[in-house]
Every structure is written in structure tokens, then in C-alpha cells.
């Protein structure tokens, strides 16, 4: 179970972006989170991926409450959640070739020996050709780069996936391919999914249930519009 309990988070304690958000994703379940632009969805996604410490409230991961975030979070907890961001350009280190980009989490967690096999396997899953794998981010399209970012998120076989507007920048066919790759992975492993977005049609088709931002955060307090730095 992936639970967000009464999470308040933001970049300034006096003006939190997310107030009292509560959300539960069951194992194997796909939950879509719908919300307008600037409402705090991405911040909540970062909290869920243990990348941002909430001001109050808890994240409970498989029954274990999370006390520490980012580098301080135990590696096993951090890597249990795979995350894909909205903008592939900003989520890829411009100096790494796509192979190294995908293999980075394996190397960071000391699993170098499985690099060739896992990268080849995932390249097939997300639809990247061997030629593309040798290129650097500036030599591929946004869609191709996002495929690599998805492969990187899946490489450690996370039990949970957070897709923060994963397909917002992409065309319909790439969107379909990426969603299919995520769904294939979930069918094979039984991973849970939190898909954040503003495309109701897509989320309705993709997810088991779709919740609106207003139902996640109980009362609608006036919120300043902010984007995560």
C-alpha cells in the first residue's frame, strides 16, 4: 500500500502548495490524479517519490511510515518508487549517453554486472533501438528521451511508479507506446501506479480509478500558484 496521510508540503512553510492531501494506492492499482495546472500535483508527486520532505503528514510505503526523504531516506525505500517527470530534457543529465542514463540507477546501487542485460531488455520494452542508446540527450527527440527516462525508472524494478505528467509533452503515438510499456511492466510485476496529469480522457482510459485534486485535498483554501523550483 502506498499512502499519503494528511500531507502538507511546499517550498515555504507559511504558504504550502499542497494542504492536507490524503491518497491511497493499493498494490497493483493504477490511480490517476487529475488537477489543473499549478495546483501542486507535481509537488505531491515529488513527496510520493520521497524527493521532497512534507511540512506535515506522512507517506506510508508498504506499511512502513517514511521518516526521512531524499538522500536521507533508506535506499531500499527510495528505490521502491520509480519516478518519471514531465520534461525529459530536464530529467536527463545532458552528459550521459542513453545507455548510461538507463543504467545509472543500477550503477548507483552497485549492480554493475546486470547493466548490459537489463539495458538491452528495457530498451526493447520502451522501444529504443541500439543506435539511439549510443546517443546523448541532445541528439534524440523528446519522445525518445522520455522513453529512456521511463526505462531508467523501471530499471530497478520498483514496486510503485509515479508518472508526473509523463506524456504531457508527447504526441499521441509516443503517449500510447509509453502507457503500454508502463502497463506491460505492471502486468508483469504487479506494481502500483500514481499517474498525475490534467488529461481526463487519458487518465480515465489508463487508470483503474481517477481522483480529482479537490477530493484529495479536502477544503479548497486559496492557494498561491507556484511551480516547483
Amino acid at each position: 500500500m502506498l499512502e499519503l496521510r494528511d500531507v502538507t508540503a511546499g517550498y515555504d512553510r507559511r504558504a504550502p502548495v499542497v494542504r492536507n492531501a490524503t491518497l491511497t494506492v493499493a498494490p497493483g492499482e493504477a490511480v490517476g490524479l487529475l488537477g489543473p495546472s499549478g495546483c501542486g500535483k507535481s509537488t505531491l508527486a515529488r513527496v510520493t517519490a520521497l524527493l521532497h520532505r512534507p511540512d506535515s503528514g506522512h507517506v506510508v510505503l508498504d506499511g512502513a511510515p517514511v521518516h526521512r526523504y531524499r538522500h536521507r531516506a533508506p535506499r531500499a525505500q527510495r528505490t521502491a518508487v520509480g519516478v518519471v517527470f514531465q520534461q525529459p530534457r530536464l530529467s536527463a543529465d545532458p552528459r550521459l549517453r542513453l545507455t548510461d542514463l538507463i543504467a545509472e540507477p543500477l550503477r548507483a546501487t552497485g549492480r554493475r554486472s546486470s547493466v548490459p542485460e537489463r539495458v538491452a531488455e528495457l530498451a526493447g520494452t520502451v522501444g529504443l533501438t541500439p543506435d539511439l542508446l549510443t546517443r546523448r540527450p541532445h541528439e534524440v527527440s523528446d519522445g525518445q528521451l522520455q522513453r529512456a527516462c521511463l526505462a531508467r525508472a523501471l530499471v530497478l524494478r520498483p514496486r510503485w511508479l509515479v508518472c508526473d505528467e509523463m506524456t504531457a509533452m508527447l504526441d499521441a503515438s509516443t503517449t500510447a507506446a509509453l502507457v503500454r510499456a508502463v502497463e506491460d511492466y505492471r502486468t508483469a510485476t504487479g506494481a502500483g501506479l500514481l499517474a498525475v496529469g490534467h488529461d481526463r480522457l487519458l487518465l480515465n482510459r489508463w487508470c483503474d480509478r481517477t481522483v480529482h485534486w479537490d477530493t484529495v485535498t479536502p477544503k479548497r483554501a486559496p492557494m498561491p500558484v507556484r511551480t516547483p523550483g
Partner: protein, 292 residues
């Protein structure tokens, strides 16, 4: 039609700028190459003693035998200048790179850790910056016997502050990028994020800072030596040469001061020229303009 003219004009402008660049690059690179070759080759190959005193030939003006003239001890100034440049360049390069290393390490640590550690380190940098660095440098050399290494240490210990600031600012701005988030989520340790993602990104900036610091360090060395605090007077450095020549300048003999001075100024301008071209190369906006 107006558009076409505008495009042509901007292309011509771009081409003109490009050729100025190429010229600046070539001249700077040639000057630096000559200086480096001279200091590397002349002392071992030319079997002349730069310390050879010839009191009969004191303070001779420039002539075919002594192209830069001689000093008040009759020593050949061209040879002394090359030997002086060798020492000054050595001090400059070693000190600048040590300073950059210290600055990068401190700046990256402060930026990568953030929070209290960052604030403490940066306040320390601010405090040190508030003391004039020549004064701080004098304190450091005063603790040792005169020699090359105390000067290197003095320059390195006083010149890392600006690099630390540059690197920290760069690391802070990179730290909030989603690709760092992705690395953290992929299980990367703080050390790995710093070494694999943050440091490679700040290296071009740090490298530029290091290159720009070489002439600065040479000036600092010369200033210390000129004040009699840097290198011992028998070691030819550009600073000691100018210091020795002070007296004869008042007597109208200009060459013992002018040539070491030029040896200090020309490499400085050449390095500034190279650094300028480099800065524009690594700046993507300027790069796209240059492509016009």
C-alpha cells in the same frame, strides 16, 4: 526585401565577429605558445648563465648583443626575463590550479550539502573575502622562509574564494533540476550525485576560472616579490626584476623595468583573450548567435 537585407546584415555581422574571434584566438594562442615554449626550452637549451655578472657591461641599452639591454650588474635582461617568466608562470599555474581545486571542493561541498553547512561555509568565505587578499597573502608568506612554495601557498590560499562562490552558485542551481531528483530516486548517494552529476557540469566554469586566475596569480607573485616578501632576490622572477630595476628607472634607464613589465602584461592579455573566446564558446546563447 527588408528581411533579406536584415538577414544578410546579421550574417555579415556574425561573420565579422567570427573573424575577430578567430584573430583574437590565434594571436592569444600564439603569444601563449611562444611564452610557454620559451620558458620550457630556453633555460635547458641555452647554455648561458642568467646570473653571470659583467660589471663592465652594466646598464647597456638594448643592442644586437643584448636585445633587452643589461641590468645594473651587467646581466643579460632577455635571459633574466625568460627565467623570471618561467618562475612567475610556474607559480601562477600551480597556484591557480591549487586555488581552483580548493574553491571547487569547498563550493561543491557547500552547494551539495545545503542548509546549515552551506551557510556556515559561505559566511566563512565572506569573512575571508572582507580582508584584502594581498594583505592575507603577506601574512601567509611572512610565516615561511622566502621561496617559491610559500608564494604558491600564499596565492592558492587567498584566491579560492571567488571560485568557491561560482561553483556553489552553479551547484545550487543544478541541484534542483529534475535529473538530480531522478538520480536520488535511483538510489544515488550524495557523493555519487556530486561526483557524477554536479561536478562534471561545473567543470567548464571552474576551468575558466582557473585559466583566468593564472595571470592574476602571476601578478600577485610579482607584487609579493616586488615588496621583497615573495621570492628571494637572487631568484629571477618578474617581480624581483622590476624591484631590482626601480633605482635605474629614476636615472633614465627604462629597459630594466619595461621588459619584465611587458612580460607580465602580454601573457595576461593573451590569457584574457583566450578566456574570452572560451567563455563565448561555452555560452550556448552566444554560440547560436555566432552560427548566424
Amino acid at each position: 526585401m527588408a528581411d533579406v537585407t536584415a538577414v544578410t546584415a546579421s550574417r555579415t555581422h556574425g561573420a565579422a565577429r567570427r573573424s575577430t574571434h578567430t584573430l583574437r584566438l590565434r594571436v592569444s594562442a600564439a603569444l601563449i605558445a611562444v611564452a610557454v615554449l620559451a620558458v620550457l626550452l630556453v633555460p635547458p637549451l641555452v647554455r648561458l648563465d642568467q646570473q653571470a655578472v659583467d660589471l663592465a657591461a652594466e646598464l647597456l641599452p638594448p643592442s644586437p648583443t643584448h636585445p633587452f639591454g643589461t641590468d645594473d650588474m651587467g646581466r643579460d635582461l632577455l635571459l633574466r626575463c625568460v627565467h623570471g617568466l618561467r618562475v612567475s608562470l610556474l607559480v601562477g599555474v600551480v597556484a591557480a590550479f591549487t586555488a581552483t581545486l580548493i574553491g571547487t571542493a569547498v563550493g561543491a561541498t557547500a552547494g551539495a550539502l545545503g542548509g546549515w553547512a552551506d551557510r556556515m561555509v559561505m559566511r566563512m568565505v565572506d569573512t575571508l573575502s572582507s580582508v584584502p587578499h594581498l594583505l592575507l597573502g603577506i601574512f601567509v608568506v611572512a610565516m615561511f622562509r622566502p621561496g617559491v612554495w610559500p608564494v604558491v601557498v600564499s596565492v592558492a590560499l587567498t584566491h579560492w574564494l571567488s571560485t568557491a562562490r561560482i561553483v556553489r552558485a552553479e551547484v545550487l542551481s543544478l541541484r534542483s533540476r529534475p535529473y538530480i531528483d531522478a538520480a536520488v530516486s535511483g538510489g544515488a548517494s550524495r557523493w555519487r550525485v556530486t561526483v557524477r552529476h554536479l561536478l562534471p557540469a561545473v567543470l567548464p566554469q571552474a576551468g575558466l576560472a582557473a585559466v583566468l586566475m593564472v595571470p592574476h596569480a602571476m601578478w600577485h607573485e610579482s607584487a609579493l616579490s616586488f615588496l621583497g616578501l615573495g621570492l628571494p632576490t637572487h631568484t629571477a622572477s618578474l617581480g624581483t626584476l622590476i624591484q631590482d630595476a626601480r633605482g635605474s628607472l629614476l636615472a633614465g634607464q627604462w629597459w630594466p623595468t619595461l621588459f619584465p613589465g611587458l612580460f607580465l602584461i602580454i601573457p595576461t592579455l593573451a590569457v584574457a583573450g583566450l578566456a574570452g573566446v572560451w567563455r563565448e564558446r561555452i555560452n550556448p546563447r552566444r554560440r547560436s548567435e555566432l552560427m548566424l
